[in-house]
């Protein structure tokens, strides 16, 4: 679709562009992590490319390969109408060395996106003005979107109530009888039942 973007990147950066493809119509370039900021600067400043809208930044975890975490950035140019996807692969099994340069000085909109990638995937951004968690709370440990983080491991901030405190079984509410729960509607108002005494 916009093959000329990939051609210009390859012409300018040569071997730093590790691979390119245009599957499903999306032009993609995999970039050497050390050249990340230089590539972004070029894409922003080259007049024929003019990528001024920072669309998205996210991390995808491939734990079976090294480097493990793939940081994916999408960019768009409003004037020219073309898009590009940049990827950089960082981090080994324990996520050491998962670092990239921050591009907040090029696009201020990347500020929150980089914080989110740090929070969810664990990739550090060098030179970011304020790298702290954005979606999770500061006491949270771990990075939830890594495949090695189990989805149901909670780290509650407020300890859950115990049953003595509550005075009722908390696991499941007792199944209510037909009359209990709602005195109107289903069973009607409390019925008065006659029965003989034994």
């Amino acid at each position: 679709m916009s093959q000329h973007v990939l051609d210009k990147l390859k012409a300018r950066f040569g071997t730093s562009i590790l691979e390119t493809h245009s599957d499903f119509g999306d032009d993609t370039a995999v970039v050497e992590p050390s050249q990340w900021k230089a590539v972004c600067q070029y894409l922003r400043e080259e007049p024929a490319l003019d990528f001024d809208l920072p669309v998205d930044l996210c991390g995808v975890d491939y734990p079976t390969r090294i480097p493990r975490m793939e940081v994916v950035m999408h960019l768009y140019s409003i004037a020219k109408g073309h898009r590009v996807r940049l990827k950089a692969r960082v981090g080994d099994e324990e996520m050491s060395g998962a670092e990239l340069d921050s591009v907040t000085s090029i696009w201020p909109g990347m500020n929150w996106l980089e914080r989110e990638v740090w929070d969810m995937s664990g990739v550090r951004f060098n030179g970011h003005p304020d790298l702290r968690r954005i979606l999770m709370y500061p006491e949270f440990e771990g990075h939830p979107l890594q495949k090695t983080y189990p989805a149901d491991r909670t780290q509650p901030l407020v300890p859950y109530r115990t049953e003595e405190e509550a005075g009722l079984p908390l696991g499941k509410l007792e199944p209510f009888g037909p009359d209990e729960g709602m005195p109107f509607g289903r069973g009607g108002l409390p019925r008065v039942v006659d029965h003989e005494d034994d």
């Binding site: 499903f24 998205d56 990347m110 929150w112 989110e116 968690r133 979606l135």
Partner: protein, 404 residues
């Protein structure tokens, strides 16, 4: 007391003061959306505003890795919960792009009409809530009444007022009901009438205009550098609408305008949304003319579409197909795709990564109001405390989408 006869510098007698820290907590009446703003105030002027989101983070991306491709639809509904049909259609288009299938024409018109109805509901809610937060309760109730009419149509079609889960890969869950066109055509003029009444009440009111005009101004280039899209960007003068720039479905075959603002202030964001309601009405009317009354809604691809129920009960092939689609999920080809549509707040993108199986490997939503809320602290610098309410309201931050 004797008068002071020494020369004093301007402000030398003022007591040194630290700026006051005020917390507009996650539960706040005037913020529709759960967000925490930690303010440093000097008097009533904001020195610094730290916007903290994440109070509605529900783990959408992690949950979608645990089901099948079709089981993501209910989660997607609850992202932008005021215009759920737009989210549904966006996700369905993304998976269809990855599978390489195109839905029949009747379905495309149907998706457009439902999407534009959802957009009307989104803009009505945003503008109504903004008016309510400034004290105008009556126009809020009128807009909610208009929204109820939209929800009545959606309830007749999908069965639910709010979270429909109506989209499917390769089509929709059910064909349009018999009365669909009649219902839409009857409701639209009434909705427009209520919008006009609300406009008349609000836009002639001096106080309302003064609270919104020149408040929260952002220029077009700043907005673009922040990643803004949608009505907030268009209010700053940048004419970027995906329905015009990169048309999908049948948007290139209908005739509509894109309202642009001039000054990028809160009043422009308010007015752009009202104007977009009228444009959505135009799109709906044209789409209803073009939509056929009969014809298939789901595409004919057995890899993704469930077979007809009677076949499932009577033939073995359909039973197996149904079983595999439900239990294992549609086998979407390996690869990755980024698909974008115009959501209620701007460019709603889905970045899907598939490993060839029935369970998604990664579903990433590009939430439009995440970037927009990221610009809030810049909008609030050196404004007053009472400007926070209309500015934040005009950004239409939907917690479910911003915090996914």
């Amino acid at each position: 007391m004797e008068p002071l006869d020494i020369d004093l510098e301007e402000g030398e007698l003022e007591l040194p003061a630290d700026p006051m820290h005020l917390n507009m907590g996650p539960s706040h009446p005037a913020m529709h959306g759960t967000v925490r703003i930690v303010l440093e105030l000097s008097g009533e002027t904001i020195v610094k505003a730290d916007v903290q989101i994440g109070y509605l983070h529900r783990g959408f991306e992690k949950m979608s890795e645990r089901g099948t491709w079709a089981q993501v639809f209910p989660y997607v509904d609850r992202l932008n919960y005021v215009s759920p049909m737009l989210n549904n259609v966006g996700y369905a288009l993304a998976v269809e792009k990855l599978c390489g299938i195109a839905v029949p024409e009747r379905c495309q018109w149907y998706r457009m009409v439902l999407g534009e109805l959802a957009r009307i509901s989104d803009h009505l809610t945003c503008d109504g809530a903004m008016a309510m937060e400034l004290g105008a309760f009556t126009p809020f109730l009128w807009f909610v009444k208009a929204r109820e009419m939209v929800w009545d149509i959606l309830e007749e079609e999908t069965g639910a007022r709010l979270t429909h889960s109506f989209g499917r890969i390769g089509g929709m869950a059910n064909p349009p009901s018999r009365d669909f066109k009649g219902l839409c055509r009857a409701a639209l003029p009434k909705i427009l009438e209520l919008v006009e009444q609300g406009e008349k009440m609000l836009l002639k009111n001096r106080i309302f205009i003064e609270r919104l005009e020149s408040v929260g101004v952002i220029s077009g280039t700043d907005a673009v550098a922040l990643g803004w899209t949608g009505p907030c960007l268009r209010a700053s003068g940048v004419a970027y609408d995906i329905r015009k720039a990169h048309p999908y479905l049948r948007y290139d075959e209908v005739d509509f305008d894109v309202p642009i603002g001039r000054s990028g202030d809160t009043l422009d964001r308010f007015l752009v949304r009202l104007a977009e309601i009228r444009q959505s009405k135009r799109i709906i009317e044209q789409s209803l003319e073009r939509m056929a009354d009969e014809g298939p809604i789901n595409c004919d691809d057995p890899r993704v579409v469930l077979p007809d129920k009677m076949d499932v009960y009577t033939t073995i092939e359909a039973t197996i197909q149904h079983f595999k689609l439900i239990m294992e999920g549609a086998k979407v080809p390996k690869g990755e795709v980024y698909s974008y549509t115009e959501g209620g707040n701007g460019e709603l993108g889905y970045y899907l990564v598939s490993d060839g199986g029935g369970t998604p490997y990664r579903v990433r939503i590009r939430p439009p109001c995440f970037q927009i809320t990221g610009g809030l602290s810049k909008l609030l610098e050196s404004r007053m405390l009472s400007d926070i309410v209309p500015t934040f309201g005009s950004l239409n931050m939907i917690g479910g989408e911003c915090d996914h």
